[in-house]
Amino acid sequence: MTITNLTISSCHTDFASGARRPSDVAQEMISVIQQKDEQLGAFLSIDEKDIMRQASEADERYANGTQRSPLDGIPIGLKDNFLHKGQPCRAGSKILDGFVSPYDGGAVRKLKEAGAILTGRMNCDEFAMGSSNENAAYRPCVNPINAEYVPGGSSGGSAAGVAAGMVLGSLGTDTGGSIRLPASFCGLVGLKPTYGRVSRFGVVAFASSLDQVGPFAKTVDDCRLLYNHLQGFDARDTTSRNIDEPVTFSEKETGLKGVRVGVPKSFVEHDGLDDEVRATLMYSLDVLKSLGATIVDVDLPHLKYAVATYYIIATAEAASNLARYDGIRYGQRLGETDGLEGLYRQTRGQLFGDEVKRRILLGNYVLSAGYFDAYYRKAQKVRRLLAHDYAKAFEECDVIFGPTSPTPPFKLGEKAADPLAMYLSDIYTVTVNLAGNCALSLNAGFSKDGLPIGMQLIGGLYQESTILNVAHRFEGAGLGRQQQIKS
């Protein structure tokens, strides 16, 4: 198996048997990054010396039998909004240029405890705001399957790096689909866990009631391994849930007998759903049926309002969270000679990108006196209706099935000038964040142009085990990226 086709589990097996050493893999991965990343743009920076230091420590642990976990010695990338002590953290924004993380975030600490090798900072939309990675402030990132297409956003670098074989897994954040959409566009598995399941401590905040940390991987099993090490309580995140529930897969059970898969009418009948995506999903649904699943009709009657609700709540929270970037405490400062007001305005006006500014303006608008009830309060009420839709649907089914994105990956620049068209690509993902549920995207097939098409499995609150198990059995039925890896 070549280095770019390795999975986390196959690599760990090789480490444990002595067939490979962590430092050999780390060195090869650095070479792949050097060869490919100038064109791809998955990384904002890597620290080769630090990678090799970590790898050498992992070599020793395997040599003396003290390896810590299946992630020990495995190269993992971090989206540029995770604090990793001593490393730069810019959240893909010019305003944070020069910021060095003074401590490790919760998820980073858990990966370190597991022995993972943290390889570098992965490209993303500025402050995780975007669906295509075209709002990246430092360099573009393209889809590794076809460089004319976007990798999806906002965690585009995290997805592109795994798909191109530069790392074996990565972390992203998902506020409205920012893990699932790039996973779909790059043919990967991407999991957005339940809100409160993974610590958000040490993650640059975008919209605090929606943000969640999750993994990217090539296979469902790799995704499970990463998830198992990320989930669990962290006293430093006040929204962290105090439960520890790692997921296991049953080796005996390969079918889906007794599993009720809900298909919302509003998902399938949505006007914007591309024909190729619809056809791929129908085929995937047949696969789930052939595995023994029972398909049931469910309804999410407020789906139509999800994107509007999301963009009111997310921008309101973002406008508040991003008020801290004032040119005083972090990163860069401009306009010092123009007094405090001039400093604030020039720093923020010149160093935030256009999409970030648009969202701050919209957020402050919907929060302002006179509009608060009409927009923000109203959106919070519709949010409850959406959460109620899910709760009701899960009385009828165990998992909800649907598309991740209404279309296959789109071309660079295709939607860049039209923010609303871009926002609408999140139609299938934002409801999950609004309700707090867990969901994953995995590859369901490819378009006639050879571009990946993802399918989404949505679970109820804290039902990661259900969606990962269903995904694992679907994957085992012989579809998707797993087959590419085997070939």
Binding site: K304, R358, L361, Q380
Partner: protein
């Protein structure tokens, strides 16, 4: 939903973002487009519905009030673009 230029300018001021006439025009158009779209919510009947502020409505957990290793101290100060002797330097505020 169209916004008057003075409303857009006020938003830039409230948001502490510098602006000029071109930016006000450009952002105003995009903002109006998005506000027009989110007006879709006006057709939803929310009588008697309580706002949902947080997905799982958890009771926030508070850690015990003890000093721990995450206090960043000087390292935090050093992330400021301008600091002197452990203090962040700011422009003169009081004349």
């Amino acid at each position: 939903m169209a916004l008057e230029n003075h409303e857009i300018e006020n938003l830039f001021k409230l948001s502490k973002l510098e602006y000029d006439a071109d930016i006000v025009q450009e952002f105003g158009e995009k903002l109006a487009q998005v506000l027009g779209y989110v007006d879709l919510l006006s057709e939803v009947n929310v009588d008697g519905v309580e706002p949902l502020m947080h997905p799982s409505e958890l009771t926030l957990t508070m850690r015990t009030d003890v000093v721990d290793a995450t206090a960043v101290g000087r390292k935090g100060i050093e992330n400021s673009p301008a600091y002197v002797d452990g203090f962040i330097r700011v422009p003169k505020i009081v004349e």
